[in-house]
């Protein structure tokens, strides 16, 4: 087939969110890929001029529809650091529990979409069925399925009773059991390996130079995870980053699959080590100064640059989401791949376009 331009997206069933890729294709081999963004740009950073820093928590939560809790946590941590607020220990553990629950459901969602990208519909259904359990946990403990809104500056708004903790542990046992049933399918199945091994290779050097983040970086063998920073209660939890060496779609899938299981373990650790006590500190005053704060989102590192001027309105909030960093690596991965592999590669960076454009 001669050289053709295939418009991929912004509305394409395999893409969960709107990104447009202009693919120059020859004999079903991609020669060149150009992105076009801007289909869901909302300018949330700008809202800091008319919403005070407490209201901004609910606004930054809406940057991403999957890992909202982690955005709010990152923002709160930044403001707390700026104002010198000491967060109670229990609140730190609660933050870890909910943020790891968000990671589990985000990864399960991704694993489903990824399976769908290479045409494995039944696996997609299985993963989403498991994910529903996590949604139920969120809804029962924090009041909403995804946008849990539990963070406030100084701690959390909701607490977990011992019964709820036990219930979460029970449900997580089921989640772990069901996820493990799919381990062989995702990691050893002939057709799955055929579609992912050696597809969209990003070498360690490329990943580092192009600024890849999160599982995309760890899938290329770089052991970098913001949870190594020991933010929230991660200083009291045993944690080591998951990596895979090959830098192909299979490696990235493997990292995410193993991280799902690891996060189940992290929630268990957090619940077992959580102390009693207050869940929020009272504070006075307004943030002043500037700082950069980073946490690990399911998709990779999340960076907030905050600048306060002593009023209740922050001067500047700059959000760098992981997908934004992972688009240049995606452009490096696409040329040379087959048209059939484009959805697999595009999904392997776990694109969250709403995050990217904010």
């Amino acid at each position: 087939m001669a050289r053709t331009i295939i418009p991929f997206g912004p509305q394409h069933p395999v893409l969960p969110e709107p990104i447009h890729l202009k693919l120059v294709v020859e004999d079903e081999i991609v020669k060149e890929a150009l992105p076009q963004l801007g289909y869901v740009h909302r300018g949330l950073e700008k809202l800091t001029e008319i919403r005070d820093f407490n209201q901004m928590i609910q606004i930054v939560e809406r940057v991403c529809g999957i890992c909202s809790k982690i955005h709010a946590m990152c923002f709160c941590q930044g403001v707390e650091e700026m104002m010198g607020i000491e967060v109670p220990e229990r609140a730190k553990f609660l933050r870890v529990i909910w943020s790891e629950l968000h990671r589990i459901h985000s990864h399960l969602l991704w694993l489903g979409l990824y399976a769908d990208a290479f045409g494995f519909e039944s696996v997609f259904m299985q993963f989403w069925r498991i994910r529903e359990k996590i949604m139920d946990i969120n809804e029962a403990t924090a009041g909403n399925r995804v946008i849990v809104s539990v963070n406030v500056v100084g701690g959390t708004r909701a607490d977990l009773s011992p019964e709820q903790c036990n219930w979460i542990l029970q449900e997580l046992d089921w989640v772990e059991k069901e996820t493990k049933r799919l381990q062989a399918v995702m990691l050893d199945d002939y057709t799955v390996k055929k579609r992912t091994v050696g597809v969209g290779v990003l070498t360690r050097e490329q990943a580092y130079a192009l600024g890849a983040a999160g599982p995309t970086l760890r899938g290329s063998g770089v052991a970098q995870d913001m949870r190594q920073f020991k933010y929230a209660a991660f200083d009291k939890i045993d944690f080591a980053p998951v990596t895979a060496p090959d830098g192909d779609c299979y490696s990235r899938g493997k990292v995410r699959f193993l991280e799902t299981l690891q996060s189940v373990d992290l929630v268990r650790q957090a619940i077992s080590r959580m102390p009693q006590g207050e869940i929020a500190t009272k504070f006075k005053g307004n943030p002043e100064g500037e700082l950069v704060t980073r946490v690990e989102q399911p998709r990779g590192e999340l960076l907030y640059y905050l600048k306060g001027n002593g009023t209740k309105f922050l001067e500047r909030v700059r959000i760098r989401t992981p997908t934004f960093a992972n688009i240049p690596p995606l452009l490096a991965m696409l040329p040379g791949c087959e048209l059939a592999d484009v959805p697999v590669i595009a999904l392997s960076i776990d694109p969250c376009i709403s995050c990217t454009e904010r």
Partner: protein, 134 residues
């Protein structure tokens, strides 16, 4: 090779994971933040909720005693419920029902009168309450 076989055959024999939704409805979780409502007779129209709201969806007319929430702007965060000094705001544990046209949550109450006029205000209160229940 085909590791999925066990899983699909188990599903074939096992229970359904989905629900026939409108026929079978899962009971709501107690903590779920659903539709917002105001116990208008307790409301003192202090405007704390409107000020704290991140999406600025609540508007209050103190003179007329009108409390309005735009459910299409509301983000169901529950900040207003916590901010309320007299605990008159609540969230139901079910979500708002499907509507065919855009309608606001509007509740009419009696704003607290200055102390000396309190006697006049009491007479008007029952009538206002009836309206609110509609």
């Amino acid at each position: 090779m085909a590791f999925m076989t066990g899983n699909v055959l188990r599903n074939l024999m096992g229970k359904y994971s989905t629900r026939l939704y409108p026929i079978e409805i899962r009971p709501a979780f107690e903590a779920y933040r659903g539709e917002l409502y105001n116990e208008i007779e307790k409301c003192i129209f202090c405007q704390s909720c409107a000020r704290k709201c991140p999406s600025q969806c609540i508007s209050i007319d103190k003179e007329a005693g009108l409390w309005t929430c735009d459910p299409f702007a509301c983000v169901y965060c529950g900040i207003c419920v916590e901010a309320c000094p007299v605990n008159c705001l609540h969230m139901k544990s079910t979500h708002r029902h499907v509507a065919t046209e855009r309608e606001m949550i509007e509740q009419k109450g009696t704003p607290p009168k200055p102390k000396k006029k309190a006697a006049d205000g009491e007479a008007a209160a029952p009538a206002a309450e009836k309206k609110a229940k509609k």
